[in-house]
C-alpha cells in the first residue's frame, strides 16, 4: 500500500490545474487543513481487506446498452442549441483563441 501524497501548496496547485478552478491563498490554507482532517477520517477504509472483492460501479450492475433504430428524430434547432451560449454568431459558438 502506497503512502498517500501529502497535501501541500504544490499539490493543490496541480489539483487546480487538473480541475480548471483556482482558489485563493486563504482557501488553499483552509483546504489543506480540511483535506488532512477528511483523509484522517477516510483512511479507516484502508483497514479492510478487499483484495478478493469485485468492485461495484453501480449497485445493480446494469449494463443494458440502449439501442434504437437508426432513424432521424427531432433535435435542437440552431436557435435552441445557441440559446444559452455565452457568445454566439450565426451558426457558431464564439470562444477566444484556442491557443
Amino acid at each position: 500500500m502506497n503512502m498517500r501524497m501529502p497535501f501541500s501548496v504544490e499539490e493543490l496547485e496541480i489539483l487546480q490545474a487538473l480541475t480548471g478552478v483556482d482558489i485563493n491563498p486563504q482557501e488553499t490554507e483552509e483546504f489543506i487543513t480540511e483535506y488532512n482532517n477528511l483523509m484522517g477520517w477516510l483512511d479507516k477504509i484502508k483497514v479492510l481487506d478487499v483484495s478478493d472483492v469485485i468492485p461495484t460501479t453501480n449497485g445493480l450492475r446494469i449494463s443494458n446498452n440502449a439501442f434504437r433504430e437508426d432513424i432521424i428524430e427531432d433535435s435542437f434547432s440552431v436557435e435552441e442549441a445557441l440559446m444559452n451560449a455565452p457568445e454566439a454568431d450565426g451558426n457558431a459558438f464564439i470562444v477566444p483563441s484556442i491557443y
Binding site: D22, E34, L42, P55, G59, L60
Partner: protein, 490 residues
C-alpha cells in the same frame, strides 16, 4: 387550510368541483408571495405558467376529460431538473441564466399528468451539500425554525412542502438529499431503487448513485407521485425495463408478520438520545401493528460513509468537466485563450464547497491514489451491497433513523464539517447499495421534526409504502405542521 392538504385530498375537492385548479393555484401563489421573503424555498417562480396550466386543466375538467389524480395540483421541482423554457440554475452562479432547452423525462411525465408547476426550488450548488447553505441564491430557512437549516441538497423542495408553498415537490438523492431534508422538515421523502427513475435531464453529480423522487405530505401522495416518476426510459440506459407496480395497491394492507431488521450499527454513530427515543418509539409502534422487529448486524456500515465520500466527489469531478463556459454557462474573467476562459469562468462561478469536492475527487483518483481510495471505495461498495443481500434473505425491510439528530442552526457546518458529513451515514448506504428508502415523520424533538427511515429490497417500493402507510395511519405525526412566524395554522 387548503395549502396544508395532501394531493389526494385536493384531487377529491377538484373532482367534486368544490374548488378549481385556478383558485387553488392562486392560494399557493399568495402563500408563496407571503412567505418567500423569509423561507427562500424557490429560486425561480413560474406563476404565470402555473396560472395558464391551471386554466387549461380546469377547461379539460369542464369538458369531462379523464384526468390524472395529480392534474391541476400545484407543485415544485428541484432546480437541477431540466424544465423546458424555464431557468434551471442548479443553485449555481455557473448556470444562473441557463434556460433549459428541453424537459427531463420526469418533467415530461409530470406534464403529461397535467401538474401545475409553481417554480424551481433552491438547492446546494449542483446538489453538493446537506444544508442549502451552498446555494448561490442564498440558503433556505427551515419552516419549523427559521434559524435552522432545512437540510439538503433538496432543502428548497422540503421547505416548500412543509411551509405550504407547494402541495408536493420533486427532489433528487445521491447520498440522502431527499430523505435528510424531508426528515428535517417533517415530510415524507422517497429515494426509489436505482434504475427506477430516469436521470435524463437531471444534472449529473454522482451518476452511479443518484435518483429523483417525491417529497410529499403523506405516504399516499408519495406513492401517487412515485408512480408517475418511475419507469423505463430509452434515454437513460440505467433505467430497468420492468413494469412499475401500482404503488397505491400496497396502502391499507396489514403489516402483521412482516420481518423488519434493525441494524444495530446505525444506532452507534453518535445518534442523539431524544432522536433515538423517538425512532425506537416508532419501532415499537410497528411491533404493535404486528411486525416482527429484530436487531441485526450490518458489519460494513461504518465504512459506507467513507466509501460514499470517496465515490461521490470522484464521480462529481468527472461530471463537472462539462461546465466549460463554451456552449452554456457563466463566462467571465480575462479571456486570453479558451483554456484560460474556461478556468477563469469556473473559478468565478463555482462556490467553495464545489471547488473543494472537485479538487478532492481529482486527488483521490490521481496516479498512486486511485487504487487505495477510489477503487477501494468501489470494492467497499460491494461489501455494503452484500450486507444488504444477507439482511434481505431474512428480513422484508430494515428500519433506522433518517438522521442522527433533528435540524441544526446555520453555520454549524463551518464549525463541524465532519459532523455534517456524518449525518449522511444513515442515508448514504441505500445509495451505495441502490436499494429504495423512505423517510416518514415520527415525532418532534424541541419542536423540530424527526424522521424514521425504512429501507427496502431492490424494486420493492411496495413494501416500503405498505409499512410507511400503516405507521402513518396508526399515528398522527404527519399532521404536525410548522407554525411560521407566530401565525396559527389551524
Amino acid at each position: 387550510m387548503l395549502f396544508q392538504k395532501t394531493a389526494h385530498e385536493l384531487n377529491t375537492l377538484l373532482k367534486a368541483k368544490e374548488i378549481s385548479s385556478e383558485e387553488l393555484t392562486e392560494i399557493y401563489i399568495k402563500r408563496i408571495e407571503e412567505l418567500e421573503p423569509r423561507i427562500n424555498a424557490y429560486i425561480t417562480k413560474t406563476h404565470e405558467l402555473a396560472r395558464e396550466k391551471a386554466k387549461q386543466v380546469d377547461a379539460k375538467r369542464v369538458k369531462g376529460e379523464k384526468l390524472h389524480a395529480l392534474a391541476g395540483i400545484p407543485m415544485a421541482i428541484k432546480d437541477n431538473i431540466q424544465t423546458k423554457n424555464v431557468l434551471t440554475t442548479n443553485g449555481s452562479k455557473m448556470m444562473a441564466n441557463f434556460i433549459a432547452p428541453y424537459d427531463a423525462t420526469i418533467v415530461r411525465k409530470l406534464k403529461n399528468a397535467d401538474v401545475v408547476l409553481l417554480g424551481k426550488t433552491n438547492m446546494d450548488e449542483f446538489a453538493m451539500g446537506s444544508t442549502t447553505e451552498n446555494s448561490y441564491f442564498g440558503a433556505t430557512k427551515n419552516p419549523w425554525n427559521e434559524n435552522c437549516v432545512p437540510g439538503g441538497s433538496s432543502g428548497g423542495s422540503a421547505a416548500a412542502v412543509a411551509a405550504g408553498e407547494a402541495c408536493y415537490a420533486i427532489g433528487s438523492d445521491t447520498g440522502g438529499s431527499i430523505r435528510q431534508p424531508a426528515s428535517f422538515c417533517g415530510i415524507v421523502g422517497l429515494k426509489p431503487t436505482y434504475g427506477c427513475v430516469s436521470k435524463y435531464g437531471i444534472t449529473s453529480f454522482a451518476s452511479s448513485m443518484e435518483q429523483a423522487g417525491p417529497m410529499t405530505r403523506d405516504v399516499e401522495d408519495c406513492a401517487l407521485v412515485a408512480k408517475v416518476l418511475c419507469g423505463f426510459d430509452e434515454k437513460d440506459c440505467m433505467t430497468l425495463d420492468v413494469e412499475t407496480p401500482d404503488y397505491l395497491t400496497s396502502l391499507g394492507k396489514s403489516i402483521k408478520g412482516l420481518r423488519i431488521g434493525l441494524p444495530k450499527e446505525y444506532f452507534e454513530y453518535g445518534i442523539e438520545k431524544q432522536t433515538k427515543d423517538k425512532v425506537f418509539a416508532a419501532i415499537k409502534k410497528l411491533e404493535e401493528l404486528g411486525a416482527i422487529v429484530e436487531e441485526i448486524s450490518m458489519p460494513h456500515t461504518e465504512y459506507a460513509l467513507r466509501a460514499y465520500y470517496l465515490l461521490a466527489p470522484g464521480e462529481c469531478s468527472s461530471n463537472m468537466a462539462c461546465f466549460d463556459s463554451v456552449r452554456y454557462g457563466f463566462r467571465g474573467g480575462n479571456m486570453v485563450n479558451v483554456a484560460d476562459m474556461s478556468r477563469e469562468s469556473r473559478t468565478l462561478a463555482f462556490g467553495r464547497e464545489l471547488k473543494k469536492r472537485l479538487m478532492f475527487g481529482t486527488y483521490i483518483q490521481r496516479e498512486g491514489m486511485i487504487k487505495d481510495y477510489f477503487l477501494r471505495a468501489q470494492k467497499v461498495r460491494t461489501l455494503i451491497r452484500q450486507d444488504f443481500e444477507v439482511a434481505f434473505k431474512k428480513y422484508d425491510l430494515l428500519v433506522t433513523s433518517t438522521t442522527y439528530a433533528p435540524t441544526y442552526e446555520f453555520g454549524f457546518k463551518q464549525a463541524e464539517p465532519l459532523r455534517v458529513y456524518e449525518n449522511d451515514v444513515y442515508t448514504a448506504s441505500a445509495n451505495l447499495a441502490d436499494v429504495p428508502a423512505i423517510t416518514i415523520p415520527c415525532g418532534l424533538v424541541d419542536g423540530k421534526p424527526v424522521g424514521m427511515q425504512l429501507i427496502g429490497k431492490w424494486f420493492d417500493e411496495l413494501t416500503l409504502f405498505r409499512v410507511a402507510h400503516a405507521f402513518e395511519q396508526a399515528t398522527d405525526f404527519h399532521s404536525n405542521i410548522p407554525v411560521i412566524g407566530g401565525e396559527i395554522n389551524a
